[in-house]
């Protein structure tokens, strides 16, 4: 059928209900916060000193790599796990609902409880290590908490749950007839996936992936509770909070936050640039 998008000016009014609260509540504070990054505590006048400090002091700029080093691999793994699970149970399968529910479940625990749970489960005397030791697989327990590994595990659990919570619904929007058509044309399951399923769901997956990634860039409690916030998991927000809460240097805290925001925007624009090159739209059979 023929259709095309033609906009009536009036339609854009629909943007307002959500824009107005944000403009009212958010923009002014944000600008204020932004201006603060060009100021020093207790002095007037605008300066770039905070940014100079950020990009010359390894204590600050290292947070970029540390954050990305923690979050990017974790996000990719989360995507794989969440996609793998939801794709596998996508067709009506007995127990599929339960598997989906359990995968998403950690999301409902919230990050603090997940952090506590990771510690309880993975600590040297936790079930994970004791089981491995009892099975004779290892002699010494793995150190999986209060370090990179701990934060990584907690992130993976939460991120997987988040991505899965979205993928479950998205997979349902792909018309199974298209996959069937591909299969009958001789495509193996893998090729059907690669050539039909993936291109159709790709843009949605990328959006969720980006969302998850930028959320995890803002990781705080996990980095502090299960990670080692002094070194390996010294992420943006850890430093920002430290500046604000311990050093009372809001200017620097906001600078860190702005750099973090820019990093997130960069990540987002990369993902969206990739996304734009693929198919975006309905995946129903185009009759």
């Amino acid at each position: 059928m023929n259709q095309e998008v033609f906009a009536k000016k009036r339609d854009y009014l629909l943007l307002l209900p959500s824009l107005i609260p944000l403009l009212l509540l958010f923009v002014y504070p944000l600008l204020k916060g932004f201006v603060m990054t060009f100021q020093q505590p207790e002095t007037a006048g605008l300066t770039l000193a905070n940014y100079v400090e950020f990009f010359t002091n390894s204590n600050y700029y290292d947070t970029i790599w540390r954050t990305l080093y923690l979050v990017v691999p974790a996000s990719i793994i989360e995507l794989f796990i969440a996609f793998g699970i939801t794709y596998f149970i996508r067709e009506k399968m007995r127990g599929g609902g339960i598997i989906a529910g359990l995968t998403i479940f950690p999301l409902t625990l919230g990050s603090i409880i997940v952090d506590m749970a990771v510690i309880a489960f993975f600590k040297p005397t936790g079930w994970f290590n004791t089981t491995l030791i009892n099975m004779g697989l290892i002699d010494e327990p793995f150190t999986l908490v209060y370090n990179y590994a701990g934060a990584f595990i907690a992130l993976v659990i939460l991120g997987t749950a988040f991505i899965a919570s979205n993928l479950v619904g998205m997979m349902g929007t792909i018309d199974p007839n298209l996959e069937r058509a591909a299969r009958t044309l001789g495509a193996s399951r893998w090729v059907t996936f690669k050539r039909v399923f993936w291109p159709l769901i790709r843009s949605n997956v990328l959006t969720v992936f980006a969302l998850n990634l930028i959320m995890q860039i803002g990781v705080y409690s996990t980095a502090v509770i299960v990670g080692n916030p002094a070194s390996e998991t010294r992420t943006f927000v850890v430093v920002a909070f430290e500046e604000a809460m311990r050093n009372f240097n809001y200017n620097m805290a906001n600078t860190v936050a702005i750099v973090m925001g820019i990093t997130q925007l960069l990540v987002l624009s990369i993902v969206f640039a990739i996304r734009k090159r693929g198919y975006i739209g309905s995946a129903s059979t185009f009759k």
Binding site: M1, Q3, A7, D11, Y12, L14, P17, S18, P21, L22, L25, F26, P29, L30, K32, G33, I81, I85, I99, G101, L102, I104, F105, P106, T108, G110, I112, I113, A117, A120, F121, W127, F128, I153, T160, F162, N166, V168, G169, M170, S188, W190, S203, N204, T207, L211, I214, M215, G218, V237, F241, A253, N254, A257, M260, G261, L265, S269, G281, S282
Partner: protein, 302 residues
């Protein structure tokens, strides 16, 4: 196949010429395919089992740490008690906070959804200049740490008298809820088939009816995902809520955190129990929304 039996010696050349150079696979499953298929199934199950074991193990471990008695180094606690849980519940009036929290966050969730859905619709359906920039703008509030804007927001709220009031807390939650919901719903909305909307409009549906009868029912999965996620996010919002909440108009999360941060000599089991009370609203809401969604979906025949 009579012919085939009479001229078996001719087979190869003939088969090829007729079919051109097409690669004919035999009408039979390839070993490789079967193997891969099996491998895929096995590894998927392995992945699922591994992940779920960890999730379940973690959860049980942390729950036992709150309900277990004297769990030191043994595989299971010596005994179980809900005494600490009850103590924590009573000492901190968890029930009160629970009610307030549900009121605030539920309302904010619903309002966020209501306000963001029209926006998402336009973002998904229309192309306009700076659309990408607008999307990025929507993304700012939940990516930037709330530290960055919490203090100015709180001063505004105090100066206009909205601070420490329930409506104020609801409104401030929208900063978290709207952008997040926009982002989650966007891909769902983009996957809708626009042709159905034309059909509906031509049948006389106004914009409102179109939303109500055609768009919304089809994005129920997206709305559910969005509702759960923004609920959880709002529930976990800390800094800004702490700044504008009063001692009694606080979310459960903020109260529990303050307790945990300031904790001195209270028994750890009680603190664990207190932390676990946070699960209740989240679980409650998740089940609620999954139930609502499956109910509506069933009614909508998915």
């Amino acid at each position: 196949m009579k012919a085939e039996k009479s001229f078996p010696e001719l087979e190869k050349e003939d088969g090829q010429t007729v079919q051109g150079n097409i690669n004919r696979k035999p009408l039979r499953n390839s070993r490789k395919g079967l193997f891969l298929q099996k491998g895929y199934k096995t590894s998927s199950w392995a992945l699922i089992l591994l992940f779920l074991t960890i999730v379940l193990g973690m959860t049980i471990a942390v729950v036992l740490s709150a309900f277990g008695e004297e769990w030191y180094g043994t595989f299971l606690p010596q005994g179980y008690t809900i005494e600490w849980f009850i103590k924590a519940w009573q000492a901190y009036e968890v029930g009160e906070y629970f009610k307030i929290t549900m009121g605030i966050v539920l309302t904010a969730t619903v309002i966020s959804l209501v306000l963001s859905i029209p926006t998402v619709y336009i973002l998904a359906r229309r192309d306009f200049p700076f659309k990408q920039a607008l999307i990025s703008f929507f993304q700012l509030p939940f990516t930037l740490p709330d530290l960055l804007y919490a203090i100015p927001v709180a001063s505004i709220f105090y100066s206009i008298g909205l601070a420490e009031t329930i409506p104020g807390l609801i409104i401030v939650n929208l900063i978290v809820g709207i952008p997040f919901s926009v982002f989650i719903l966007l891909p769902y909305m983009e996957s809708l088939d626009p042709r159905l909307e034309y059909a509906a409009t031509s049948l006389g549906a106004t914009k409102f009816k179109l939303f109500q009868r055609i768009v919304l029912p089809q994005v129920v999965p997206g709305i559910t995902a969005s509702a759960i996620n923004i609920f959880i996010r709002m529930f976990n919002t800390f800094t800004i809520i702490l700044l504008i909440s009063g001692p009694k108009t606080q979310t459960l999360n903020v109260m529990v955190f303050s307790v945990l941060q300031g904790s001195g000599s209270q028994p750890p089991a009680m603190l664990n129990s207190l932390a676990l009370t946070l699960m209740i609203p989240l679980l409650f809401f998740s089940f609620l929304s999954l139930w609502v969604s499956s109910f509506t979906q069933r009614r909508l025949g998915k």
